[in-house]
Amino acid sequence: MSVIASAPANPAHPWIAADHASYGEVTALIADSVLLRPAGWRWWIALGVSGLFVLATMVAIYVLFTEGIGVWGVNSTVVWGYAIASYVWWIAIGSGGTLISAMLLITRQRWRASVNRFAETMTIFAVSISGLFPILHLGRPQYFYWLAPYPNTMLLWPQWRSALVWDFWAIVSYLLFSLLFLYIGLLPDLATMRDRATTVYGQVFYGAFALGWRGSAHHWRCYETFQITLAALAVPLVVSVHSIVGLDFAASLMPGWQETIFPPYFVVGALFSGFASVAILTALVRWGLRLEAVITVHHFNAMAKILLLASVVMTCSYATEWFMAWYAGAAADRSLLVFLFTGSYAPLYWMQLSFNCLLPQALWFPRVRRSILCVVLIAIGINIGMWLERILIIWNTLSHGYAVSLWRLFYPTLWDWILLVGPVGLFVFFFLCFVRLVPAVPMNELRKLCREEHVA
């Protein structure tokens, strides 16, 4: 174990907790946890437990496909349930990963180096999982490919005005784009792994993916140009993807949905829950891979400030919704607003408000921001609150539309619950495999950070 791992926090170098960290030590700290250190029993237990969740998810999907969506609690009024709420929630978490990585790259935030890699990976896994839900809720999932324009014997085209088609292109483009963004960031590190690998398999595996990278000045220049340009594209892309998710609702005619604020409001929600998820993952990776030296309390402090800002904007968005419902004067909108605060789902709505608006206000205090445990607990609260927001957007509006005769509630079934928690295990499963395969922190950026902070 290198010396930098045991060094105390140093206020002179906020982003690296060491007086001295040579390039070799930094490289070894990150690379050895993949190449040399065995996984350990904790990792295997976590993999086993999350494997059970994966199994449960597969069983639930099998039952859904053979029995139909009647196994869920959806009815002819509340036609969307957990599936669409989970879709919005997961894609929001993915968006947070892109935003944390791309925005901080464009604004040249140095502290990004320690957290961007697993934020990007989080995006890939979260977006993959979110892509499952629109297919699952189709009813006839075997025909999902009808969303693509292809020469077919029916001589049909996709309905380009349909939100489902927008979702299809948004998810596919976003997923592939994020994969490329992650891979480009990985390239120099894969070359490091190739050069450090002790087995032939490792050398061939990492060597093939490193594409022969040799760190020439010319390569680095192209790399930087490409990476920054990708980041500059990623920000409008993620905003557009999540705006499309907002449009899925806003393009309808239902009270509480048909609001122009929805696209930006959804994007802020994505930033909010995505940063919260990154904070949780950062704490877990820091603990699991013993990266206390390169992930410091200053990182949590910085992320907590963004969470606080997002929370304030979220609160303003909620207030705008309430205000517009009252000010516009539509009876259905006003009646829905009363239902939000006093109706059948009111306890959940109050819970959502306390998790998303009240709880993060604790982050105004520097002592709370600098406590990793507090930041993680608040982040967990935010993620629960944001999921409640997504499910309540669906439940409240669909249970309380224009026609009083259609007012009906949603009662989740066992399969709803399994498909809610199962994918969380699926995500953990993917993530555990990822940290054993590639360096969780970009080594080349960390070396650069060492030089800029004058610790190397």
């Binding site: 390039y23 292109w169 483009s173 120099p188 190739r194 000045a217 010319h218 557009s240 190397a456």
Partner: protein, 174 residues
Amino acid sequence: MTKPLIAEFSDADSLISAAVRLKREGHQLLDAFTPFRLPELDSILIVKPSRIRLSMLVGGLAMAAFFYFLQWYSSVIDYPLNTGGRPLNSWPVFLLVPFEVGMLAAALSGFAAFLWTCRLPRLYHPIFDTTDFARATQDRFFLLAAQTGKEERSASLRKLLKHSGAVAVREQGS
């Protein structure tokens, strides 16, 4: 021209000062290999700006235009379907898909341009045979330089590299 020399440095600053010195004395700087990006090297080595961004712009716009055309053709010409009185060419919502697909196409064409300008993938390169070159992706900095002109300057280049703080000076591939 004799065989180029490759000098190994243990930190970035000595590599940069050596490169500046070599350039001043009229030697030919071929390339540098570093474990992270050193922007200072761009002006010293005269690394040309690449056309990656241009190809991204062209690729993205072309794909976006193609997708708009596809939507317009399918819903106005090939399969006109009047639902709810919406115009056949519903351009505001037809912009969503071209935007997404255009971004993806820009990224992919950028990747192709990146590989093209860097001459990658190239799994083997003669420079990999140089002793210790594996450390170029970890913690060492390498400078590839050649002397132009007369034979006697070869010795002077080697000496110059040593004086500039190189840990080792080798011929490429040895």
